[in-house]
């Protein structure tokens, strides 16, 4: 496979995953902004206008990480390598892009902004389903998935960093439970959390689920395993992959043999930093190994 093609596939995976994350977070931030609470809303001072926020995060063509920009880039990447992916996948990405373009033009935002986010989320789910069902398990599939899982781990790390590191001294139970509920919803893990830990919200439980849960498709350990699987599959190519696989295996073992107690003894921050550093190294090696000829 051409390095250029591989690079495109990798980034399709990353862009689609990123836009999915943004959509989910946007949906919950709306719902959050509509819950009145003194502690959350700072004495009734309203958060910024949701429609404006939506405009920025979703439709702003000048914002490199708006959903629209990401979809545009994923589509450009896909358009130039159409022959490598299944026909259905290309059509899905293309239609997603056209759909957004049409909405942006027609200002369909006015009536019910959330309906729009829901529709776009549906496009995301469609993408995941189609990729899974129609793409043969060859190198193209592996590159897309490497992009997807790498992006997902980074997203989870940022999530932990932004939401769990700051010390919250608010002891109001109601506020707390709504706060945690929204957090978990924004990464798609609320239902699993309830089934596992019921209605007791504890930072330890949340970290446990986001980092170690083996069946939560967004957990760090799950994603690391998947990333490793796809790297291994790619290494059956002629060129040896040793250094990359070594780093990957090391990271996998590190997470596997870290306990929840370890994390909190050495501070969550240290754990997150370590993971970020390792991942950056892997990502650099990945670049060197597969895309440097391009």
């Amino acid at each position: 496979m051409l390095s250029r093609v591989a690079n495109n596939l990798f980034w399709i995976g990353r862009y689609m995953e990123r836009s999915y994350g943004i959509l989910l977070a946007t949906k919950i931030s709306f719902s959050k902004s509509q819950d009145y609470n003194d502690a959350i809303n700072n004495n009734g001072a309203l958060k910024e206008n949701f429609s404006l926020k939506l405009q920025h995060q979703i439709f702003d063509a000048f914002h490199p990480n708006s959903v629209f920009s990401l979809t545009f880039k994923a589509r450009e990447n896909c358009r130039s390598i159409q022959e490598e992916v299944s026909r259905e996948l290309w059509l899905c990405i293309n239609n997603n892009y056209l759909f957004q373009k049409k909405i942006a033009k027609e200002h369909m935002l006015d009536d019910d902004p959330l309906k729009l986010v829901d529709d776009l989320l549906l496009q995301s789910y469609l993408y995941y389903g189609i990729a899974d069902l129609t793409q043969e398990r060859g190198s193209a599939f592996c590159f897309m998935n490497c992009g997807k899982y790498l992006e997902r781990i980074f997203r989870m790390l940022h999530f932990l960093e932004n939401n769990l590191l700051s010390n919250k001294d608010n002891k109001d139970l109601l506020v707390e439970s709504i706060y945690w509920k929204n957090l978990l919803l924004s990464i798609g893990g609320y239902q699993l959390y309830l089934r596992t830990y019921k209605s007791e919200f504890k930072i330890e439980n949340i970290v446990d689920m986001l980092v170690f849960n083996k069946s939560f498709p967004h957990s760090i350990y799950y994603s690391i395993n998947k990333l490793e699987t796809h790297l291994l599959r790619l290494s059956t190519d002629n060129v040896s992959n040793n250094q990359l696989l070594f780093l990957m295996g090391k990271l996998e073992s590190f997470v596997k043999y870290t306990t929840l107690e370890n994390i909190f003894e050495n501070k969550l921050e240290v754990f997150i930093n370590r993971l970020e550093t390792d991942l950056l190294e892997i990502s650099t090696k990945f670049n060197e190994r597969y895309f440097s000829n391009y």
């Binding site: 509509q34 009536d111 019921k198």
Partner: protein, 480 residues
């Protein structure tokens, strides 16, 4: 400006209190934000929003089943998009009133199943206990955890023409409707963005979490196993059972999923039997345990009651609470509050005639045009007579039925429920409403979620708000 949903003059019903309008032109304080928003919303946008809510209910699967002639039909609970708003001061009174009432009712249940002081002191008539089908002899002398019989309740309130809230009935068995409180709010957030935080509406979404916590309080083990027992998907409130189980993260079980062994209750799982600590049951007493009650019931679990009697499982609400929300018992609740708590009732009762009493029967029959007559064991608005709306023939037949067994009936003067504006064909029009706040009693007392189900009689002039009788609902906003 485009036309909005306001008519030149909101037509107040004569003699009815309206929730939003103090007079035809003056809007009450708590409605101000909403009112401004509505004024600035063109009628066509409002109609679009209304159409959107129908789609949302459908796609979320929010339906209930109505039974008529033995045939079940899935329906959407009609939803009126204009919320009902209650200010903080009034809510506090409602909250205190319900807490007081539930405290007394729980004490009553404990008393009636133990020493029966209230009978000995002649406050509560012995024959009401003796004749009540909901009084369970199996519960006599039984200790229930923390003396809480009624954990979950939905007391129905109405605002009378004097502006005060009155209790219409206490629903202490398996009250339903709380899922609509949650669902209605989610929809309001979407159709009136930003109005909820601006108006400082208190959130209701943590009801399932709160319920779970309160239920955990009744058992000592650290991670109690709680299940929700449903009669199954043909029950009219099945959607609610599934929603609550999902939002509490607990299993939704049917009778067949449970088994009793050596007086312990287990659920049958792929990993073997798992012991159950708490059962939040939405199955009526009668069907709970075929060994004790209805022997043909397949909804319950054989042996469940004996496991309960041994203290091996907590059943929520406790069996036998029906005696306390029997329509004949209702009359005595104010007396109970005085008797057990030595307090004046905060929420008043509606004057109720016991037709078992010959004098009261006579009075009611003479004034039947101004009366609502209900069966004491009926619910859901079935089998009641509204004197002013019935034909002469209907009244005649009903009277004949009453005379056969007067103890089965009570009567109340026809009450003027308050009205609230509803969007009817794109314009605001007054319709009668009631209010059902939901309370959870745990070991730490009674908590009421700030909100509740406002049911509305969507037919013009109708006083019946039951969903089975063409009623709908509104989101209920309680302001901070």
């Amino acid at each position: 400006m485009d036309s909005n949903c306001f008519t030149n003059e909101y037509l107040l019903n004569n003699g009815f209190v309206d929730e939003m309008f103090a007079s035809a032109t003056q809007v009450r304080n708590q409605y101000q934000f909403l009112c401004d928003e509505l004024k600035n919303t063109p009628q066509e946008i409002l109609l679009k929003k209304e159409a959107l809510t129908k789609k949302m209910f459908e796609s979320q699967g929010v339906t209930f089943t109505v039974y008529n002639d033995g045939e079940g039909v899935e329906k959407i609970f009609p939803f009126d998009i204009i919320p009902r708003i209650i200010d903080a001061i009034e809510w506090e009174r409602i909250e205190k009133g319900i807490q007081q009432r539930l405290k007394a009712l729980n004490l009553f249940l404990k008393d009636i199943y133990h020493e029966q002081f209230i009978l000995k002191d002649g406050i509560f008539p012995v024959d009401l206990v003796a004749n009540c089908p909901y009084y369970l002899k199996e519960m006599i002398g039984l200790h229930v955890p923390n003396d809480v019989y009624v954990h979950i309740s939905g007391v129905d309130l109405i605002r009378h023409s004097d502006g005060e809230f009155y209790v219409l009935e206490d629903n202490l068995r398996t009250p339903s409707g709380v899922s609509y409180v949650l669902e209605n709010r989610e929809i309001s957030k979407r159709i009136f963005p930003d109005i909820i935080p601006k108006s400082k509406v208190r959130p209701v979404s943590n009801y399932p979490n709160l319920l779970h916590k309160k239920l955990c309080g009744f058992v000592s083990s650290k991670n109690p196993e709680i299940v929700l027992l449903t009669p199954g998907m043909y029950n009219s409130a099945y959607y609610e059972h599934a929603t609550l189980a999902r939002l509490m993260g607990i299993s939704l079980v049917e009778g067949n999923d449970l088994v009793v062994k050596d007086h312990f209750v287990y659920k049958k799982t792929i990993a073997g039997l798992v012991k159950i600590d708490v059962i939040y049951r939405r199955v009526d007493d009668e069907f709970l345990d075929p060994l004790y009650f209805n022997p043909t019931s397949v909804l319950g679990v054989p042996g469940l009651l004996s496991a309960y009697q041994k203290g091996n499982v907590v059943i929520v609400n406790a069996p036998g609470t029906g005696i306390a929300d029997d329509k004949a018992t209702y009359v005595y609740v104010p007396e109970m509050i005085k008797y057990y708590l030595n307090e004046e009732p905060i929420l008043k009762n509606i004057h109720t005639y016991q037709l078992g009493n010959p004098e009261e029967l006579d009075h009611v029959l003479k004034n039947i045009q101004q009366m609502v007559v209900k069966k004491t064991d009926g619910s859901g608005g079935y089998g009641m007579l509204i004197g002013s709306a019935a034909t002469a023939k209907e009244i005649e037949e009903y009277i004949a039925a009453i005379k056969k067994n007067p103890r089965n009936y009570i009567a109340q003067p026809i009450i003027k429920l308050s009205t609230a504006p509803c969007l009817i064909n794109g314009k605001l029009a007054p319709r009668c409403v009631d209010l059902r706040p939901f309370a959870i009693t745990g070991v730490d007392g009674t908590t009421i979620i700030p909100g509740g189900l406002t049911r509305v009689a969507l037919k013009e002039g109708s006083l019946v708000v039951n969903s089975s009788q063409g009623g709908g609902s509104k989101d209920t906003w309680v302001l901070a």
